[in-house]
Protein backbone atom coordinates (compact mmCIF):
# COMPACT_ATOMS: atom_id res chain seq x y z
CA UNK A 1 0.00 0.00 0.00
CA UNK A 2 1.29 3.35 -0.95
CA UNK A 3 0.20 6.58 0.63
CA UNK A 4 0.36 9.45 -1.77
CA UNK A 5 0.03 12.35 0.62
CA UNK A 6 2.01 11.89 3.85
CA UNK A 7 1.15 15.42 4.95
CA UNK A 8 -2.49 14.66 4.47
CA UNK A 9 -2.26 11.54 6.62
CA UNK A 10 -0.76 13.61 9.40
CA UNK A 11 -3.71 15.93 9.06
CA UNK A 12 -6.05 12.96 9.49
CA UNK A 13 -4.23 11.82 12.61
CA UNK A 14 -4.71 15.26 14.07
CA UNK A 15 -8.40 14.82 13.41
CA UNK A 16 -8.64 11.73 15.62
CA UNK A 17 -10.47 13.73 18.28
CA UNK A 18 -12.95 14.76 15.62
CA UNK A 19 -16.31 13.19 16.37
CA UNK A 20 -17.56 13.20 12.79
CA UNK A 21 -17.70 9.67 11.40
CA UNK A 22 -15.04 8.91 8.80
CA UNK A 23 -16.38 7.64 5.49
CA UNK A 24 -13.88 5.84 3.30
CA UNK A 25 -14.96 6.31 -0.31
CA UNK A 26 -13.70 4.14 -3.17
CA UNK A 27 -12.82 5.95 -6.37
CA UNK A 28 -12.59 4.66 -9.90
CA UNK A 29 -13.05 6.22 -13.30
CA UNK A 30 -15.89 6.45 -15.74
CA UNK A 31 -19.52 6.66 -14.75
CA UNK A 32 -18.70 5.29 -11.31
CA UNK A 33 -16.82 8.46 -10.56
CA UNK A 34 -19.72 10.57 -11.75
CA UNK A 35 -22.19 8.67 -9.56
CA UNK A 36 -19.88 8.84 -6.56
CA UNK A 37 -19.52 12.60 -6.93
CA UNK A 38 -23.26 13.08 -7.25
CA UNK A 39 -23.81 11.20 -3.98
CA UNK A 40 -20.94 12.87 -2.12
CA UNK A 41 -22.24 16.31 -2.97
CA UNK A 42 -25.28 15.41 -0.91
CA UNK A 43 -23.21 14.30 2.10
CA UNK A 44 -22.11 17.27 4.15
CA UNK A 45 -18.47 17.60 5.32
CA UNK A 46 -19.93 19.13 8.46
CA UNK A 47 -21.49 15.79 9.21
CA UNK A 48 -18.77 13.43 7.96
CA UNK A 49 -15.06 13.25 7.38
CA UNK A 50 -13.95 11.65 4.13
CA UNK A 51 -10.97 9.66 2.91
CA UNK A 52 -10.59 8.20 -0.55
CA UNK A 53 -9.18 4.91 -1.68
CA UNK A 54 -8.23 4.21 -5.27
CA UNK A 55 -8.10 0.77 -6.79
CA UNK A 56 -5.08 1.59 -8.88
CA UNK A 57 -1.36 1.32 -8.55
CA UNK A 58 -0.46 3.33 -11.60
CA UNK A 59 0.04 6.90 -10.51
CA UNK A 60 -0.38 8.11 -14.08
CA UNK A 61 -3.79 6.55 -14.47
CA UNK A 62 -6.49 9.03 -15.35
CA UNK A 63 -8.64 8.18 -12.35
CA UNK A 64 -5.93 9.64 -10.09
CA UNK A 65 -6.62 13.00 -11.69
CA UNK A 66 -10.36 12.96 -11.16
CA UNK A 67 -11.63 15.76 -8.99
CA UNK A 68 -13.52 14.69 -5.89
CA UNK A 69 -15.76 16.82 -3.71
CA UNK A 70 -14.56 17.62 -0.21
CA UNK A 71 -11.02 17.21 -1.55
CA UNK A 72 -8.00 18.73 0.11
CA UNK A 73 -5.33 17.97 2.67
CA UNK A 74 -7.82 16.70 5.23
CA UNK A 75 -9.18 14.08 2.85
CA UNK A 76 -6.24 11.84 2.13
CA UNK A 77 -6.01 9.52 -0.83
CA UNK A 78 -4.88 5.91 -0.55
CA UNK A 79 -4.81 3.04 -2.94
CA UNK A 80 -4.69 -0.70 -2.58
CA UNK A 81 -3.73 -2.22 -5.88
CA UNK A 82 -5.14 -2.52 -9.34
CA UNK A 83 -8.57 -4.01 -9.69
CA UNK A 84 -10.36 -1.98 -12.29
CA UNK A 85 -12.41 -4.07 -14.67
CA UNK A 86 -10.96 -7.24 -13.22
CA UNK A 87 -13.03 -8.16 -10.19
CA UNK A 88 -12.21 -11.81 -10.82
CA UNK A 89 -8.60 -11.12 -10.05
CA UNK A 90 -9.54 -11.00 -6.43
CA UNK A 91 -11.00 -14.46 -6.60
CA UNK A 92 -8.88 -16.30 -9.12
CA UNK A 93 -5.48 -14.91 -8.26
CA UNK A 94 -4.71 -16.09 -4.77
CA UNK A 95 -1.65 -13.93 -4.40
CA UNK A 96 -3.52 -10.88 -5.59
CA UNK A 97 -6.36 -11.64 -3.21
CA UNK A 98 -4.04 -12.11 -0.26
CA UNK A 99 -2.21 -8.89 -1.02
CA UNK A 100 -5.48 -6.98 -1.33
CA UNK A 101 -6.59 -8.38 2.01
CA UNK A 102 -3.36 -7.29 3.64
CA UNK A 103 -3.50 -3.84 2.08
CA UNK A 104 -7.15 -3.42 3.00
CA UNK A 105 -6.42 -4.61 6.54
CA UNK A 106 -3.56 -2.16 6.98
CA UNK A 107 -5.60 0.72 5.63
CA UNK A 108 -8.73 0.01 7.65
CA UNK A 109 -6.86 -0.61 10.91
CA UNK A 110 -5.06 2.68 10.44
CA UNK A 111 -8.06 4.76 9.42
CA UNK A 112 -10.78 3.03 11.43
CA UNK A 113 -13.56 4.45 9.25
CA UNK A 114 -17.17 4.30 10.40
CA UNK A 115 -18.24 3.27 6.93
CA UNK A 116 -16.96 2.33 3.49
CA UNK A 117 -18.95 3.70 0.58
CA UNK A 118 -18.36 2.05 -2.78
CA UNK A 119 -20.23 2.90 -5.94
CA UNK A 120 -19.94 -0.23 -8.08
CA UNK A 121 -16.18 -0.49 -7.69
CA UNK A 122 -14.42 -3.89 -7.63
CA UNK A 123 -11.99 -2.58 -5.01
CA UNK A 124 -14.94 -2.85 -2.61
CA UNK A 125 -14.39 -6.63 -2.41
CA UNK A 126 -11.24 -6.77 -0.27
CA UNK A 127 -12.26 -3.67 1.65
CA UNK A 128 -15.65 -5.08 2.55
CA UNK A 129 -14.22 -8.48 3.49
CA UNK A 130 -11.87 -6.86 5.97
CA UNK A 131 -14.37 -4.16 6.88
CA UNK A 132 -16.88 -6.76 8.04
CA UNK A 133 -14.26 -8.28 10.33
CA UNK A 134 -13.50 -4.90 11.83
CA UNK A 135 -17.10 -3.83 12.29
CA UNK A 136 -17.06 -1.17 9.61
CA UNK A 137 -20.39 -0.43 7.93
CA UNK A 138 -20.13 -1.46 4.30
CA UNK A 139 -22.37 0.34 1.83
CA UNK A 140 -22.37 -0.67 -1.81
CA UNK A 141 -24.24 1.21 -4.51
CA UNK A 142 -24.71 -0.83 -7.67
CA UNK A 143 -24.08 1.07 -10.88
CA UNK A 144 -26.91 2.97 -12.52
CA UNK A 145 -26.18 1.00 -15.68
CA UNK A 146 -27.19 -2.25 -14.02
CA UNK A 147 -30.87 -2.44 -14.79
CA UNK A 148 -31.72 -6.13 -14.87
CA UNK A 149 -28.80 -7.83 -13.19
CA UNK A 150 -26.09 -7.03 -10.70
CA UNK A 151 -22.51 -6.54 -11.86
CA UNK A 152 -20.03 -9.29 -11.09
CA UNK A 153 -18.78 -7.29 -8.13
CA UNK A 154 -22.35 -6.69 -7.02
CA UNK A 155 -23.21 -10.39 -7.28
CA UNK A 156 -20.18 -11.40 -5.24
CA UNK A 157 -21.00 -8.85 -2.56
CA UNK A 158 -24.60 -10.05 -2.53
CA UNK A 159 -23.79 -13.75 -2.38
CA UNK A 160 -21.09 -13.35 0.26
CA UNK A 161 -23.30 -10.93 2.21
CA UNK A 162 -20.47 -8.45 2.41
CA UNK A 163 -22.54 -5.26 2.48
CA UNK A 164 -24.78 -3.93 5.23
CA UNK A 165 -26.62 -2.13 2.47
CA UNK A 166 -26.54 -3.02 -1.19
CA UNK A 167 -28.35 -0.29 -3.05
CA UNK A 168 -29.66 -0.90 -6.52
CA UNK A 169 -30.78 1.99 -8.67
CA UNK A 170 -33.69 0.32 -10.42
CA UNK A 171 -36.78 -1.03 -8.63
CA UNK A 172 -36.83 -4.13 -10.85
CA UNK A 173 -33.45 -5.24 -9.48
CA UNK A 174 -34.76 -4.79 -5.94
CA UNK A 175 -37.51 -7.27 -6.73
CA UNK A 176 -35.07 -9.76 -8.17
CA UNK A 177 -32.57 -9.57 -5.33
CA UNK A 178 -34.49 -9.61 -2.05
CA UNK A 179 -31.65 -8.42 0.17
CA UNK A 180 -30.98 -5.22 -1.79
CA UNK A 181 -32.32 -1.74 -1.10
CA UNK A 182 -33.79 0.79 -3.47
CA UNK A 183 -33.81 4.37 -2.25
CA UNK A 184 -33.50 6.37 -5.46
CA UNK A 185 -31.08 6.78 -8.30
CA UNK A 186 -28.22 9.02 -9.33
CA UNK A 187 -29.87 10.69 -12.31
Amino acid sequence: METTQPAAVAATDECQADQRPLVLVTVEGGGWHHQTVRILRRLSPEEFRFAYVYGHVDEHHYSRKLAMPHAGARYPIHHIGQTRGRPLRHVTNVGRLALSFWEAWQLLVRLRPAAILAVATPVALPLFMVGRLLGVRCLFVESLTRVRDLSLTGRLIYRLRLAHRLYVQWPGLRERYARTSFAGAVV
Binding site: P21, V23, G29, G30, G31, W32, H33, H34, Q35, R38, I39, R42, L43, E47, F48, Y62, S63, K65, G85, A114, A115, L117, R137, L139, F140, V141, S143, L144, T145, R146, V147, R148, D149, S151, I157, Y158, R161, A163, H164, R165, L166, Y167, Q169, W170, R179, T180, S181, A183, G184, A185, V186, V187
Partner: protein, 157 residues
Protein backbone atom coordinates in the same frame (compact mmCIF):
# COMPACT_ATOMS: atom_id res chain seq x y z
CA UNK B 1 -19.51 23.40 -31.44
CA UNK B 2 -20.43 19.74 -31.89
CA UNK B 3 -18.88 17.68 -29.12
CA UNK B 4 -18.32 13.93 -29.39
CA UNK B 5 -17.31 12.03 -26.26
CA UNK B 6 -16.52 8.39 -25.57
CA UNK B 7 -15.93 8.85 -21.82
CA UNK B 8 -12.90 7.51 -20.03
CA UNK B 9 -12.65 4.23 -21.91
CA UNK B 10 -12.77 3.71 -25.69
CA UNK B 11 -15.34 3.51 -28.46
CA UNK B 12 -13.43 3.48 -31.75
CA UNK B 13 -16.50 2.59 -33.81
CA UNK B 14 -18.18 5.85 -32.79
CA UNK B 15 -15.05 7.89 -33.46
CA UNK B 16 -14.72 6.27 -36.88
CA UNK B 17 -18.38 6.90 -37.71
CA UNK B 18 -18.06 10.58 -36.80
CA UNK B 19 -14.82 10.85 -38.77
CA UNK B 20 -16.57 9.50 -41.86
CA UNK B 21 -19.56 11.81 -41.42
CA UNK B 22 -17.23 14.81 -41.13
CA UNK B 23 -15.38 13.70 -44.27
CA UNK B 24 -18.72 13.57 -46.08
CA UNK B 25 -19.60 17.06 -44.87
CA UNK B 26 -22.55 15.93 -42.72
CA UNK B 27 -21.86 18.39 -39.92
CA UNK B 28 -22.29 22.13 -40.20
CA UNK B 29 -19.91 23.74 -37.74
CA UNK B 30 -16.88 22.85 -35.68
CA UNK B 31 -16.54 19.31 -34.33
CA UNK B 32 -14.35 18.13 -31.46
CA UNK B 33 -13.97 14.43 -30.68
CA UNK B 34 -12.80 13.17 -27.28
CA UNK B 35 -11.40 9.71 -28.00
CA UNK B 36 -10.33 8.46 -24.55
CA UNK B 37 -8.19 5.33 -24.74
CA UNK B 38 -9.19 4.70 -28.35
CA UNK B 39 -6.78 3.21 -30.89
CA UNK B 40 -8.38 4.85 -33.91
CA UNK B 41 -7.19 8.40 -34.57
CA UNK B 42 -9.63 10.43 -36.65
CA UNK B 43 -8.23 11.99 -39.83
CA UNK B 44 -10.84 14.58 -40.68
CA UNK B 45 -11.73 16.06 -37.33
CA UNK B 46 -10.05 17.69 -34.31
CA UNK B 47 -9.63 15.29 -31.39
CA UNK B 48 -8.32 15.09 -27.83
CA UNK B 49 -7.83 12.16 -25.45
CA UNK B 50 -9.60 13.71 -22.46
CA UNK B 51 -11.27 16.94 -21.48
CA UNK B 52 -11.01 17.97 -17.86
CA UNK B 53 -14.02 20.26 -17.96
CA UNK B 54 -16.33 17.85 -19.75
CA UNK B 55 -19.50 18.97 -17.93
CA UNK B 56 -18.81 22.59 -18.90
CA UNK B 57 -18.02 21.63 -22.49
CA UNK B 58 -21.24 19.68 -22.74
CA UNK B 59 -23.22 22.60 -21.32
CA UNK B 60 -21.73 24.87 -24.00
CA UNK B 61 -22.10 22.54 -26.97
CA UNK B 62 -24.70 22.97 -29.70
CA UNK B 63 -24.93 19.21 -30.06
CA UNK B 64 -23.39 16.35 -28.09
CA UNK B 65 -22.84 12.87 -29.45
CA UNK B 66 -21.95 10.66 -26.51
CA UNK B 67 -21.36 7.03 -25.69
CA UNK B 68 -24.20 5.71 -23.53
CA UNK B 69 -22.19 5.68 -20.28
CA UNK B 70 -23.81 6.90 -17.10
CA UNK B 71 -21.54 9.87 -16.46
CA UNK B 72 -21.74 11.35 -19.93
CA UNK B 73 -25.46 10.71 -20.38
CA UNK B 74 -26.29 12.19 -16.96
CA UNK B 75 -24.17 15.23 -17.82
CA UNK B 76 -26.08 15.58 -21.08
CA UNK B 77 -29.43 15.23 -19.34
CA UNK B 78 -28.65 17.89 -16.75
CA UNK B 79 -27.12 20.22 -19.35
CA UNK B 80 -30.37 20.62 -21.24
CA UNK B 81 -28.41 20.48 -24.51
CA UNK B 82 -29.51 18.41 -27.53
CA UNK B 83 -27.67 15.09 -27.60
CA UNK B 84 -27.59 11.61 -29.05
CA UNK B 85 -26.48 8.69 -26.87
CA UNK B 86 -24.78 5.88 -28.79
CA UNK B 87 -24.72 2.45 -27.16
CA UNK B 88 -21.43 0.55 -27.20
CA UNK B 89 -22.76 -2.98 -27.27
CA UNK B 90 -19.36 -4.42 -26.55
CA UNK B 91 -19.16 -2.98 -23.03
CA UNK B 92 -19.35 -5.65 -20.32
CA UNK B 93 -22.69 -7.43 -20.23
CA UNK B 94 -24.00 -5.00 -22.84
CA UNK B 95 -25.05 -2.87 -19.88
CA UNK B 96 -25.16 0.35 -21.92
CA UNK B 97 -28.04 -1.04 -23.95
CA UNK B 98 -29.96 -1.96 -20.81
CA UNK B 99 -29.17 1.40 -19.31
CA UNK B 100 -30.30 3.40 -22.33
CA UNK B 101 -33.47 1.35 -22.66
CA UNK B 102 -34.36 1.71 -18.97
CA UNK B 103 -33.46 5.38 -18.86
CA UNK B 104 -35.68 6.06 -21.85
CA UNK B 105 -38.65 5.06 -19.69
CA UNK B 106 -37.83 7.96 -17.38
CA UNK B 107 -36.52 10.49 -19.87
CA UNK B 108 -37.42 11.31 -23.44
CA UNK B 109 -34.09 11.45 -25.27
CA UNK B 110 -32.47 10.25 -28.47
CA UNK B 111 -30.39 7.08 -28.29
CA UNK B 112 -29.23 4.56 -30.87
CA UNK B 113 -27.87 1.06 -30.42
CA UNK B 114 -25.04 1.34 -32.94
CA UNK B 115 -22.76 4.03 -34.40
CA UNK B 116 -23.93 2.93 -37.86
CA UNK B 117 -27.30 4.54 -37.11
CA UNK B 118 -25.73 7.91 -36.32
CA UNK B 119 -26.31 9.67 -39.65
CA UNK B 120 -30.00 8.80 -39.63
CA UNK B 121 -30.37 9.85 -35.98
CA UNK B 122 -28.83 13.33 -36.30
CA UNK B 123 -32.17 15.09 -36.94
CA UNK B 124 -33.56 13.39 -33.81
CA UNK B 125 -31.06 15.01 -31.40
CA UNK B 126 -32.92 16.82 -28.63
CA UNK B 127 -32.60 17.83 -24.98
CA UNK B 128 -33.74 15.20 -22.48
CA UNK B 129 -37.19 15.68 -21.02
CA UNK B 130 -38.07 13.96 -17.71
CA UNK B 131 -41.03 11.60 -17.84
CA UNK B 132 -41.00 10.86 -14.10
CA UNK B 133 -39.13 11.87 -10.95
CA UNK B 134 -36.81 9.82 -8.79
CA UNK B 135 -33.52 11.06 -7.57
CA UNK B 136 -30.19 11.16 -5.90
CA UNK B 137 -31.46 13.17 -2.92
CA UNK B 138 -33.37 10.21 -1.48
CA UNK B 139 -30.51 7.81 -2.13
CA UNK B 140 -27.97 10.08 -0.46
CA UNK B 141 -30.29 10.58 2.49
CA UNK B 142 -30.59 6.84 3.02
CA UNK B 143 -26.80 6.49 2.79
CA UNK B 144 -26.38 9.28 5.33
CA UNK B 145 -28.62 7.46 7.76
CA UNK B 146 -26.89 4.14 7.14
CA UNK B 147 -23.47 5.70 7.86
CA UNK B 148 -24.69 7.43 10.98
CA UNK B 149 -26.39 4.30 12.25
CA UNK B 150 -29.65 6.15 12.64
CA UNK B 151 -31.64 3.60 10.73
CA UNK B 152 -33.81 1.36 12.83
CA UNK B 153 -32.26 -1.91 11.74
CA UNK B 154 -29.23 -2.68 9.63
CA UNK B 155 -30.35 -5.19 7.06
CA UNK B 156 -27.72 -7.64 6.05
CA UNK B 157 -27.65 -7.29 2.31
Amino acid sequence: MILVTVGTERFDELVRAVDELVARGQFAGEVLVQIGQGQYTPEHVAHVRYLRDMSVRIAQADLVITHAGTGSVCDCISSGRPFIAVVDQRKSGNHQLEFARALSERFDFCWIDSPTALAAALPQARPARPLSQFGVAELADDIRQAVSGRQRRMQLA
